[in-house]
């Protein structure tokens, strides 16, 4: 697929279901629910940058102490070309740019590997095992189960919501025991940088509410870095749980600082910085954030999860259409032959 000539602005996602992998087999894991309900997802911070046809998704998995493992699943808009350790201070620098009081970028994730879903990529980053999966909701769910995770009750519906649009998921397992052995302190984060070639970026928000019910709150900050000012759907109005906190050209000093961090050479010399704060109840977050940075101002309803994608044609359906069109062509051709090449009457 050729990249669009237009630059589509940033996309990204903050997300994640936090799974707690306990030693006890009965409660070997869980979505955002730990075996004893003690796992808390704090405010998450994510940068979703889009430049030159590639989405750069950068987030951090924080060591929260204890043992075992914590897991998460993140839907992706496409198959990543690269998963690597992220820069050490990109997220903190973004926070410092937009907030007077620095706030630690936090968030946890996890998962493990192998199942019916197709494993596209496995990467070990410090104490974090990252696996990129391709599969429908059922396949990813089976994968989670086979790897000892228990998904929360809303997972079937939420994962299907995503799989209908993109069957690519990123699973991450934070091995707390390995982190402790490495000498990581509580609060230390492992930044991860995922590069995704795509011409259709979006920011999954609904998955932030996974494992939460009713009025439980979802807090997250999503930074977007685009070549130009993006159009967002839904538009952040505050009432819908999305608030626009920053929407202006990125400063030269910020871009220079970001560019000097590990793996951040892609940051352009000029860009538009947007910060969206998510402060919503779980019930509110039934959508994702669609972005159009092309200047057309037409973000996709499908990408926002507000409309279903147009179903594609199966190979058998395509064959039927081709066969049908062929028959019609033969019939029309035959009719034309009869009309135009009528035999001349024989003179008596």
């Amino acid at each position: 697929m050729s990249k669009r000539s237009r630059t589509l602005g940033a996309a990204g996602f903050a997300a994640l279901l936090l799974l707690a992998l306990a030693a006890a087999p009965v409660l070997a894991c869980g979505g955002l629910i730990g075996p004893n309900g003690a796992v808390n997802l704090l405010r998450t911070t994510t940068l979703a940058g889009y430049h030159d046809g590639e989405e750069h998704y950068i987030t951090a998995f924080q060591f929260a102490g204890g043992g075992g493992a914590f897991g998460s699943l993140t839907p992706l808009p496409g198959v990543p070309s690269k998963v690597e350790k992220g820069g050490d201070w990109t997220l903190q620098r973004l926070v410092r740019e937009t907030e007077p009081v620095p706030e630690a970028a936090v968030f946890l994730e996890a998962a493990r590997a192998a199942g019916d879903a197709e494993v596209l990529m496995e990467v070990r980053i410090d104490a974090l095992d990252v696996t990129v999966l391709r599969g429908g909701a059922d396949e990813v769910g089976r994968w989670a189960k086979q790897n000892g995770f228990r998904l929360p009750p809303d997972a079937p519906e939420v994962l299907e919501f995503y799989a209908e649009r993109s069957p690519i998921f990123l699973a991450a397992v934070f091995d707390a025991d390995a982190a402790a052995e490495r000498g990581q302190a509580v609060g230390d984060g492992t930044p991860v940088h995922v590069t995704i070639p795509t011409d259709n970026p979006w920011v999954p928000l609904r998955i932030l509410a996974l494992g939460k019910t009713g009025q439980e709150r979802v807090d997250a900050d999503v930074y977007l870095l685009n070549d130009q000012k993006p159009a967002l759907l839904p538009a952040p109005t505050g009432d819908n749980g999305l608030t626009l906190l920053n929407d202006e050209p990125a400063s030269d000093s910020l871009l220079a600082d970001l560019r000097s961090d590990r793996g951040m050479e892609w940051v352009p010399t000029s860009a538009w910085l947007t910060k969206v704060r998510i402060d919503a109840s779980a019930d509110q977050l039934g959508f994702d954030l669609a972005i159009d940075a092309s200047g057309a101002g037409a973000p996709s309803y499908v990408d926002a999860g507000l409309a279903l994608p147009t179903p594609g044609m199966t190979p058998m359906e395509a064959l039927r259409v081709i066969f049908g069109l062929g028959l019609i062509g033969i019939a029309v051709g035959g009719a034309l032959l009869l009309v135009w090449w009528r035999p001349q009457p024989v003179a008596s």
Binding site: I33, G141, R142, K145, P152, P153, D154, P156, E157, T213
Partner: protein, 141 residues
């Protein structure tokens, strides 16, 4: 086609019709001849979420889990459910009114309710009851 062939063909049609009727009867009554109810589980909800069965009669309950996560079907009064909310039993199946249904699978159980009343069936896996995995079963005289 001669009369003999017609006769054979007719016999096959009649046999198939009888077999189909028998199969339909089996589904309606259950393989054991008991009244049968089917509960589908999809998106972590029971469908139907309200049932009515006769008292004192064995009823086969077919539990079809269409989700990719495991579920439970625990039938009982408030005391039963309170016990399961804090229970540690990982898998159910020894008691007819307590069934674990693995992801994508179907389980059958046969229950007999000895007295009339209203009972609830709930999935007690963490978070599932709060998410709405609750149904009501009325045992009618």
């Amino acid at each position: 086609m001669g009369r003999t062939e017609f006769g054979i063909l007719g016999g096959i049609v009649v046999a198939l019709a009888i077999a189909g009727a028998a199969a339909a009867w089996t589904v309606a009554r259950g393989a054991t001849g008991n009244p049968q109810v089917t509960i589908d589980i999809r998106y972590s909800h029971f469908e139907p979420s309200e049932l009515s069965v006769p008292v004192g009669v064995p009823v086969t309950v077919v539990l079809s889990n269409r989700d990719m996560i495991d579920h439970e079907w625990i039938l009982g009064d408030d005391a039963v459910h309170e016990r399961h909310r804090t229970g540690t039993e990982p898998v159910h199946g020894a008691r007819p009114t307590e069934v674990t249904i693995p992801a994508g699978e179907t389980r059958r159980t046969t229950i007999v309710l000895d007295e009339a009343g209203t009972f609830r069936y709930i999935c007690h896996l963490p978070g599932h009851e709060a998410y709405g995995m609750v149904g009501v079963l009325v045992a009618r005289p």
